[in-house]
Symmetry: C2
Subunit: 449 residues, 2 copies
Amino acid sequence: MPAAETKKRAASPRKTIRPSYSYLIEKKRDGNEFDKDEIRFIVDSIIDNEMPQFQQAALAMAIFFQGMSAQETAVLAEEMMLSGEVVDLSRITMPKVEKYSTGGVGDKTSLVLVPLAAACGVVMPSMNGIDEEMIISTLRKLSSIPGFDVDISLERFTDQLRDVGCAIIRQRAEIAPVDNALYQLRRETGTVPSLPLITGSVLSRKLAQGADGLVVDVKWGNGSFIRDVEQAKQLARSITRVGRSMKKRCVALVTDMNQPLGDSVGTALEVKEAIQLLKGEGPEDLKELVLKLGMEIVRLAGVAGSTLSAKQAVQRHLQNGEALAKFREMVVAQGGDADVIDHPEKLPTAKYVRKLPAPKRGYVHTINAGAIARGVQILSQDSDGNWDHACGVSEIKKVGTQVKQGEPLMMIHYNDESRMEAALELLRNAYRLAPKRPTPPDLVVERVA
Amino acid sequence: MPAAETKKRAASPRKTIRPSYSYLIEKKRDGNEFDKDEIRFIVDSIIDNEMPQFQQAALAMAIFFQGMSAQETAVLAEEMMLSGEVVDLSRITMPKVEKYSTGGVGDKTSLVLVPLAAACGVVMPSMNGIDEEMIISTLRKLSSIPGFDVDISLERFTDQLRDVGCAIIRQRAEIAPVDNALYQLRRETGTVPSLPLITGSVLSRKLAQGADGLVVDVKWGNGSFIRDVEQAKQLARSITRVGRSMKKRCVALVTDMNQPLGDSVGTALEVKEAIQLLKGEGPEDLKELVLKLGMEIVRLAGVAGSTLSAKQAVQRHLQNGEALAKFREMVVAQGGDADVIDHPEKLPTAKYVRKLPAPKRGYVHTINAGAIARGVQILSQDSDGNWDHACGVSEIKKVGTQVKQGEPLMMIHYNDESRMEAALELLRNAYRLAPKRPTPPDLVVERVA
């Protein structure tokens, strides 16, 4: 019973055409469109370690400037997907929907959505990546739960998806290896923000994980690598358009990331907040986003026929404890200590908690989410790269909140006094207070379907 | 007596700033200007083999799209120049002017200009590169003269410049080695046609060769890598502007390369034509270009004060045999058989000569110079890369010439029948005949000073 189908691409024999790499670079540089065979040739040449990295880099930069059509991007995604293993979830009869987020500060929605979807009868086969700049990965958050294993085998993963309905594991190296290689190169060559390359990367990975549909959360703002709302909208349109041309159902929400999502940033602190939400409590903005993304997931899966019934299904399973029960089952299935659910104080807890006092009275006007992320990273990570799960910030006063002088803007959880000063500087400077109440930002800016 | 000054750049200690390579790539990608230190850091990092090639490639492509300012380009040229040896010609009291051409099919002007300038009292320290696509290098042409040595030492080179007034040698690896490395990378990454990178490359090499001024021939057309006249004008302006900001006198001519220059293409055939010109004969277009470039050279050198006196000086030394005498001296000094000057039949001669017949009567409307170059290359070069100096084409009917059906469009010189068919196809298709006389193209399109 193979958990991962070996739907591998025929390699070298496919290379019937053999254009030179510089011809291909020049073609894209001059704004022309690649045909299918050319994209296949490029992907094959990267797989076979034949196309030198410096020519890959030049091509990526040419793509950054000249873009790619939906058709080109779809072929790229398909070929990158087929460069590795494709997870076969055909044994699972429930509808399967994946979620992809561009990443945000304090974003713990996946921790809630995965069990919530399972409670609603939708499987989300979740393979997650590692930390990015500003972004604490879902994997790292889960590893604050004692014993939780994100490295179970693909076979156990699919068994658990079938039996429990949810599982969260580490992105496998066997999935879209060309995308992994290309992404490493892009990180060092200024070509990460290319819309078609992001689109190809996301779709190649997510669709290799066996999902029938994809819900995308494109975040824009000072806590996202996308600073511009228009760029975020373009990416949302690009992914949904290309996804559709690959015959996959896709919906994208463009959401605000100009302040942390929810009230806390940190690993154990965010797990605590996710558990609160699964108990029907928790901060409003997080609840709103979970609800909106959850509705998209159940609608895409065909579990709910209308917006209203989707909303009711998601709300019901959040309120009636079924989503929490699924979370508990998942924690147990992956070897984690489920006691933390009823006793969150059993999660790592910091020795010291201090407030960040407001320097004056006023309204929270803006928050630099990226600066808060960096502050939390300084608090949590020592010079050897070890992560202290107890650290972070909580009770974050959000944009629009009125504060008195000296009132806490947030609570800072820490164990190591020596890194406090640098973190404090970042956290303090992340806040702008103003005498007038600002217009709070829209959490969901646009829905693209 | 050191011929090459060791005016080397201090390497690592200069790297006081240490920006990351991806930061620099992103900076240029986003259209920002590098400061002096950043360009120095980049050049230092390439010299020290520290900046990976894939990041150099991404940076080159970002420069292709975003350009560089005159200031940035001047610093790049200066730093690349100082990356290697700088030829010290201070012992030579005569004015020193270099010529750079972007390269063209049938362009043998350097073979004439170098001795002509010497006859006028101007030294042209000529270091030449190897063949490019469509372009037979001056070095290859000279090597059709039995015994001619293009690899004499830098010391002999400067001695000969002082004693004879002219010398033509191979580009030295010690000159601007960073430019050499970068150029190899650019050839394979579609970044050759970047105006600032061409400008930086030309100026770093030419000014390292010790010249006081530079005359540039920017060719545009189907026999040049620059197909567009506006791009050619931009390159002419870029080189002269940056050259001036480096305190070097520069003049550029933008010239036509939509048909071969002169009546022949090939190595020995072109040397023959150059010798004809030095005897005051030869084709009109070649003569016109030699005259115009020669005038610029003597004016830039300060040998002639006015356009008229420059023209007279150049014409006089071409007619009175002094330029030819200098050529003879140079051939002798570099070990070549000077007998070929009086007896051109002693140059390599092909066994077979056949005509390319006009398929119909009419006027030569267009000639694809690039196709003729490729045809000559097929005739001349065997599969092992050996070059047969006897091969080529001569008596080329130029644009605007009236021909009868069956009349020769050119004479084809060849030794190997087996490569004839492929060459013939290219040569035949290079011609377009039309019933009406076309307007002949302007040889010199623009002068940029």
